[in-house]
């Protein structure tokens, strides 16, 4: 327990708190704009509308979510920091159990059984899987040493990381499952071979190229490059011929396997999202509509935007999911390039600060957790904004602290403030 509130206050990282507050405030303004309708002015808190009437508006519900998030923050920082370490696996076990039962007790909403209803409140357990898994893998990371290439340890870590997303995929919520890939960045920081990141990145590039370029060209070009490298350096060829041949075989296999993966592994709607990314005019009224309208809304904002509440594309419902997954469209349309740049800078500042905080942790647990937080936020940021401007496939994940929604707000609040709680006591760690 903190020895005194004053000391506690000095040790909390106020820069992060300030960034959090600013982003939450700007996010709420944009949720208000997105749910504002010119013919039914959203009234306001003092318009005399009843609570039930106000509950129709996302901006009002978001106020309630923010209020509860503040309560949550107090709880998170008051709890003894050691509890996060101690109970990490207990929480993980409870979460796995919840993820398993969720599809059985949840009502299907938009094709997925991933939302639990507690009275008027709807919660998505997958959101909380993020911070709990982050705690669990950090805890495990503190007990092993990745650099020693202990295969058993690596297997356990992989299992801890993969189990929640597999359960989430089973509940048909693929977007949330993909987020867990972000943990690789934290593992990289702790000593994971960079080869894994490189191979994954190369695989992604090859897959995309295989969809864009005729396959025989791709195979020919790759063979030429490989052949060229060895022709200039025959010494390498002698030493690494089996490796070179197997890399060549794997790449060729991937190139020709793309179609199989595309047609047999991906579900139709997922296939469409990738098709649309490559060619926005495919499926113009389905997923392509979302992407096209989203780009139109953002693109029409210009340099300085149309002004607060003046967006036409978002307000007249051309952009779907405008206060949740596509909230960045409102930013782009009403605040222009200046607004979107400010949002990107705020994210960079927050991520940089989180990494800074993570690096100053003396424990592997704290540092790994910090990197997990940064990675998860970064993944949401990259995929969410990327999809609104046509650089990433349409994956239904929110923009942290900006999108409307209680689960995601609580989830990111928890992620951040557990880190701040751990950080506030790092000096005690020293003493210990």
């Amino acid at each position: 327990m903190p020895s005194s509130p004053a000391r506690y206050s000095r040790s909390i990282d106020w820069v992060t708190v300030l960034l959090y507050a600013v982003m939450l405030g700007l996010g709420w303004l944009n949720v208000y704009a997105a749910s504002y309708s010119p013919d039914a002015p959203a009234g306001g808190l003092f318009s005399g509308q009843s609570f039930a009437e106000l509950m129709q508006y996302n901006w009002f519900k978001q106020i309630l979510w923010i209020g509860t998030a503040l309560v949550l923050i107090v709880v998170l920082v008051v709890v003894d920091y050691k509890a996060y370490d101690t109970f990490a696996f207990v929480l993980y076990g409870a979460m796995i159990a919840l993820l398993i039962v969720t599809p059985f007790i949840a009502r299907p909403i938009a094709g997925s059984r991933s939302w639990l209803e507690l009275g008027p409140v709807r919660l998505q357990p997958a959101e909380f899987a993020k911070f709990i898994t982050a705690l669990a893998v950090s805890r495990y990371m503190a007990s092993i040493n990745l650099r020693h290439q202990n295969f058993r340890d690596q297997l356990v870590l992989a299992g801890l990381t993969l189990l929640p997303p597999l359960l989430i995929i089973a509940a048909n919520e693929t977007g949330q499952a993909l987020v867990f890939a972000a943990f690789l960045l934290a593992y990289f920081r702790e000593g994971m071979s960079p080869l894994i990141l490189i191979i994954l990145a190369a695989a992604a590039v090859i897959l995309i190229l295989a969809l864009l370029v005729p396959k025989l060209w791709l195979v020919g070009a790759f063979t030429l490059i490989l052949g060229g490298v060895f022709a200039f350096n025959t010494k390498v060829l002698r030493h690494h011929l089996p490796l070179a041949l197997s890399v060549w075989a794997v790449v060729i296999g991937m190139v020709f396997g793309v179609d199989f993966f595309f047609n047999n592994v991906l579900q139709p709607h997922q296939r469409k999202r990738i098709e649309v990314l490559i060619n926005p005019s495919a499926d113009p009224l389905g997923v392509g509509w979302n992407v096209t309208q989203s780009k139109i809304a953002i693109g029409s904002g210009g340099l300085v935007g149309k002004g607060f509440l003046q967006g036409t594309q978002t307000k007249f419902d051309f952009v779907p999911e405008q206060s949740t997954d596509f909230i960045f469209c409102t930013v782009g349309e009403e605040w222009g390039w200046l607004g979107t740049t400010v949002v990107i800078l705020l994210f960079m500042a927050l991520l940089g600060r989180v990494l800074y905080v993570a690096e100053r942790q003396k424990s592997v647990f704290g540092r790994t957790y910090g990197y997990c937080v940064a990675s998860v936020i970064f993944f949401h940021f990259a995929i969410n904004i990327g999809m609104t401007i046509g650089l990433a496939p349409v994956v239904g994940i929110p923009l942290p602290l900006f999108s409307y929604g209680g689960s995601s707000l609580w989830s990111f609040t928890t992620l951040l403030f557990i880190l701040l709680a751990i950080d506030a006591y790092r000096k005690q760690d020293l003493v210990r």
Binding site: R189, I296, F316, W337, T340, G352, Y371
Partner: protein, 612 residues
């Protein structure tokens, strides 16, 4: 441990790289690429065109001829149609089931959520029959708009009609402001004065949401324009005279054009066979139009402007005027009725002077008049002499507005033909023709063609003793006067005194006693002197065409008229009394002439349609 700390820079670099890519991409789509702004406007802006009230058309006495009336289109939104009782629906609309099916299919193909017309141009009574029952048929609604309606059964050829713009028109730059489905004047005055009648369209920009529901004005309407109603046309037509003319022409083929010589205003404009203007409006207009188009009698053919006939004996007047102006004859000149090259229609007193020649329409006399004006010894070569003579003759004839478009306020006017030397060079070869080739021009036959309007205009010119105003239908547009080109006097190359010397002969045609060819046109019992000339036009297709052209009163002309009845034989027996009845109607306001009325429109009038 130390080397792993460097990895934080890798993570930083990844974060920064993504942020930079986003910033650049956003800069491109938000600042550099303007196409997204256009796309946003296309999304939300809806252009509503307000079609203004089309101008009305009045006759010279202020009587409304053409007005606007609401008609109704039955619209359908295919998605909202539920459990359609098609049998009852078809019975209600008196629509064949097959037609309903094809129309619904077409509507679905256009849009499932937008309204498209199922049945167009329902009249108010037709609407009343279905309106109350429409509530049983969800998805169907009524849309009102304005259409033309006619307060007269006459004047169809001059009024023209209004119809939907065709895709071919839409591609022309002149019609750039029109949208598919817009109406415009297609023929007649409706077409010529389209720009005045249509007024100016208003445009309103509305913002709409993704479902097309209106969300208010765009930028408080600063780009909106109000529509301006079309201007009314005040025509010079006397609708009572017109109606009477159409009664006289009913069942015949031909034309009547009556002008006010003092202004060039067209008083009556009859083209037979006739049709009612209301045929080309409202429900089923397309089918009725095709019926008119395919009718072998060609009722849509605008005869006064488009039918060019040899003028026959009426043209002798022009010939004489040209010869008088050239000084090759005088009013006292006499010729033999010698039957040498041209025969005369009948035996008559010797044409000792011009008046006797006109009264008897003596062919040999006018043959010799033209011979004198063409062959003047300008060249020793008789071929060249004929060429030079014909060229000079033609120049003077054309100063009467013949052989070229008069410029009436209606398109589709024909030029007619006054042959040039080059015309005969082409026909016969250079210097392979002489006066004997062209002599039939002297009596208005042969290679010559003039329209009914041109013939009436020749009469107006003689009535004015030497000048004319371009004939026109419209004497006032909105609050203003006629188009400026219609107040300009056109003077012929023939001096006034020569016209004066023609008139006694023309009066003698009507009131010259024994042997007068146009005695049936006499209004002498009312004290009105009619100056006129008969014509009987030989034509290769059968019975002669009857013509009569006249003006009255001879010394203060108020009306000039040309009547053309196809295949009706001698001009004096049908065209002359018809012209007289028309002049009586106009000058006295009523007609008391049962003998000629009965002759022209009583029993047995099928003698006026003798098919070839």
């Amino acid at each position: 441990m130390q080397y792993l700390e460097g990895r934080k820079y890798v993570v930083h670099a990844i974060f920064l790289a993504v942020a930079l890519v986003f910033g650049a991409r956003l800069f491109y789509i938000q600042v550099l690429d303007g196409s997204y702004k256009l796309a946003a406007d296309r999304n939300t802006l809806q252009r509503l065109v307000q079609v203004p009230y089309r101008g009305l058309i009045y006759d010279r006495n202020g009587q409304i001829l053409v007005q606007n009336t609401p008609v109704y289109d039955l619209m359908v939104v295919p998605r909202e149609v539920k459990q359609l009782d098609s049998a009852r629906f078809c019975q209600l609309l008196q629509l064949p089931l097959e037609e309903l099916r094809t129309s619904l299919k077409a509507a679905r193909a256009y849009s499932r959520v937008k309204a498209s017309p199922l049945v167009q141009n329902l009249s108010t009574p037709e609407l009343a029959a279905i309106q109350d029952n429409l509530i049983d048929f969800p998805g169907f609604s009524i849309k009102a708009r304005m259409a033309r309606s006619y307060k007269t059964e006459n004047l169809a050829h001059a009024l023209g009609y209004v119809g939907a713009i065709t895709p071919a028109f839409l591609e022309k730059p002149k019609y750039a402001k029109y949208l598919p489905g817009d109406n415009l004047g297609i023929t007649g005055l409706e077409s010529f004065y389209e720009q005045k009648l249509m007024g100016r369209r208003g445009v309103q920009y509305r913002m709409v949401n993704v479902r097309g529901i209106e969300k208010g004005a765009f930028r408080n309407g600063e780009f909106d324009t109000l529509s301006i109603a079309g201007q009314d046309l005040h025509t010079s037509i006397d609708i009572e005279l017109q109606k009477y003319g159409e009664t006289l022409m009913a069942g015949k083929r031909g034309s009547i054009v009556a002008l006010d010589p003092k202004t060039g205003e067209i008083l009556a404009f009859v083209s037979a066979p006739l049709y009612e203007p209301s045929i080309l409006t409202g429900k089923g207009m397309g089918n009725r139009y095709m019926e008119l188009l395919n009718n072998p009698e060609r009722p849509l053919f605008n005869r006064p402007l488009m039918a060019t006939y040899p003028p026959g004996s009426v043209f002798k007047l022009v010939n004489e005027l040209v010869a008088l102006q050239m000084g090759v004859v005088t009013p006292e000149t006499g010729f033999d009725c010698n039957w040498k090259l041209v025969r005369c229609t009948h035996r008559h007193e010797p044409p000792r002077n011009l008046s006797i020649a006109i009264k008897n329409s003596c062919n040999p006399y006018f043959y010799q008049v033209m011979r004198a004006s063409v062959l003047r010894g300008r060249s020793t070569n008789k071929f060249e002499d004929a060429r030079l003579g014909l060229a000079e003759w033609r120049r003077q004839v054309m100063s009467f507005g013949l052989g070229e478009k008069l410029g009436v306020d209606m398109s589709s006017e024909k030029k007619g033909l006054i042959p040039s030397p080059e015309f005969y060079d082409k026909l016969r070869g250079y210097h392979h023709w002489n006066f004997k080739t062209v002599y039939s021009l002297s009596i208005g036959q042969g290679e010559i063609g003039i329209t009914g309007l041109q013939m009436a205009n020749v009469m107006a010119t003689i009535a004015n003793r030497g000048y004319y105003y371009t004939p026109h239908f419209v004497r006032g547009i909105g609050q203003g006067g006629p188009l400026p080109e219609y107040t300009q006097r056109h003077v012929t190359s023939v001096e006034q005194r020569h016209f004066e010397s023609l008139i006694p002969g023309m009066c003698a045609v009507v009131d010259g006693g024994r042997g007068a060819t146009g005695a049936s046109a006499s209004l002498a019992h009312y004290g009105i002197a009619v100056a006129g000339k008969t014509g009987t036009v030989q034509n290769p297709h059968g019975e002669d065409h009857a013509t009569f052209a006249a003006f009255a009163p001879a010394n203060d002309p108020k009306i000039a008229i040309a009547v053309f009845i196809e295949n009706a034989g001698f001009g004096g027996s049908s065209a002359a009394p018809m012209a007289a009845l028309m002049m009586e109607k106009y000058l006295r306001g009523k007609v008391n002439n049962p003998r000629w009325e009965n002759w022209l429109i009583g029993p047995g009038t099928d003698r006026f349609i003798r098919h070839h």
